[in-house]
């Protein structure tokens, strides 16, 4: 019986947590800024980071499929276990769909995505104002949903740690935190 995530899975989890929360905050902050060189820079950085996160999540999913995570504790009712799996599936789905919606929105608005200003990513859709506006709303709603699911994810982890007093939180923490407990 394994009790911990692999170091790679832990590293990916925390790296992406930082990147995703940063991207969410940046995304909501930059959209209302008046046009300026800084705004154009922030948009570019947001897009570059978004592409990076998309590639990281592909790698993470491949790792997840080939490295079985520790099982949920037995004390959890079946319904909650299902909810936990569904929540994680939804997080992964949003991590895939949100960058895609941002990339398509960018193309529809007539701004190609060029990763780090060097690698052009092809446009899958042509410039189209209606489609651009639709994708903008889609990107925004998906991110509001993402923020809500992340809040639920964090809340559930804290509930496991402080109320259920199980190892759900510690098993994703770096090994030195978990060694004390076991």
């Amino acid at each position: 019986m394994i009790h911990h995530y692999t170091p790679t899975a832990k590293a990916l989890h925390w790296l992406m947590a930082l990147l995703l929360i940063g991207l969410l905050a940046l995304g909501f902050y930059m959209q209302d800024l008046p046009l300026s060189p800084q705004k154009l820079q922030l948009y570019s950085w947001h897009k570059w980071a978004g592409v990076t996160v998309f590639l990281l999540v592909l790698f993470r999913l491949a790792w997840r499929v080939t490295h079985r995570p520790p099982a949920l504790p037995d004390h959890m009712p079946k319904a909650l276990q299902f909810a936990a799996h569904a929540g994680h599936a939804l997080l992964y789905l949003l991590m895939i769909v949100i960058p895609l919606s941002g990339w398509l929105m960018s193309s529809a608005k007539g701004f190609q995505t060029v990763w780090f200003g060097v690698l052009p990513i092809p446009d899958w859709v042509d410039k189209n104002k209606e489609l651009g506006d639709l994708l903008q709303i889609t990107h925004e709603i998906l991110n509001l949903l993402f923020a809500a699911v992340i809040a639920g994810h964090v809340g559930a982890a804290l509930k496991h740690h402080f109320i259920d007093r199980d190892d759900i939180l510690t098993r994703i923490l770096p090994a030195r935190f978990t060694e004390k407990k076991s």
């Binding site: 046009l35 060189p37 701004f111 190609q112 780090f116 200003g117 060097v118 052009p120």
Partner: protein, 186 residues
């Protein structure tokens, strides 16, 4: 003798001017002034929708050619409404004070039977610069098709001042392409 020379000169001038064709009815639906620039390493396109041209051109005597081109800067399309509003402002074109960009050709040199080098003065935002534009001329019925492209350095005309003056976000070089189809006659 002097008189003869004068008469010859006059005759020559007249015969040239008889060949020179005035192209001043710009065919807006077939003509275009577009531009390409780099923004954060991303290639962006734009265009000007409103311009007029006065062209007098005789392929047999390009040296006598005259060309004046006026571009209404408010007709710019940078690709986004936000961008169009931005470039009308003082740091960019200051279109309220300088509504028009004007190119006046003063020397046309033939490179071969359809390629020319057009030298002239380009005035944007109160700044005048000497530019040389390679162009081609193709007669098309009673119309003439003038095609060309050149690179404009926006800093030469103070286009994009203050926070926009650095080239790390919007590059200095703007590639301008034009196709002007103009009809001659009444």
């Amino acid at each position: 003798m002097k008189l003869l020379a004068l008469a010859l000169t006059l005759a020559a001038t007249l015969s040239f001017s008889a060949h020179a064709v005035e192209y001043h009815q710009v065919q807006a639906d077939q003509s275009a002034i577009t531009f390409t620039y780099q923004q954060m390493g991303v290639s962006m396109d734009g265009k000007f929708g409103d311009f007029t041209a006065q062209l007098s051109f005789d392929p047999a005597n390009p040296a006598a050619a005259k060309a004046t081109l006026d571009v209404a800067l408010a007709s710019i399309d940078t690709g986004s409404i936000e961008g169009n509003e931005e470039v009308a402002g003082k740091p960019w074109f200051n279109s309220a004070t300088f509504p028009t960009a004007r190119f006046v050709a003063h020397t046309v040199k033939a490179l071969d039977d359809r390629r020319y080098e057009v030298a002239g003065r380009l005035t944007i935002k109160g700044q005048t610069q000497e530019v040389i534009i390679p162009a081609t001329f193709t007669p098309q019925g009673n119309a003439g098709v003038f095609d060309g492209r050149f690179t404009l350095r926006r800093a030469d005309f103070a286009i994009g001042e203050g926070p926009w003056a650095a080239f790390d976000v919007v590059a200095n070089e703007i590639q301008i392409q034009f196709r002007i189809v103009a009809r001659s006659g009444e």
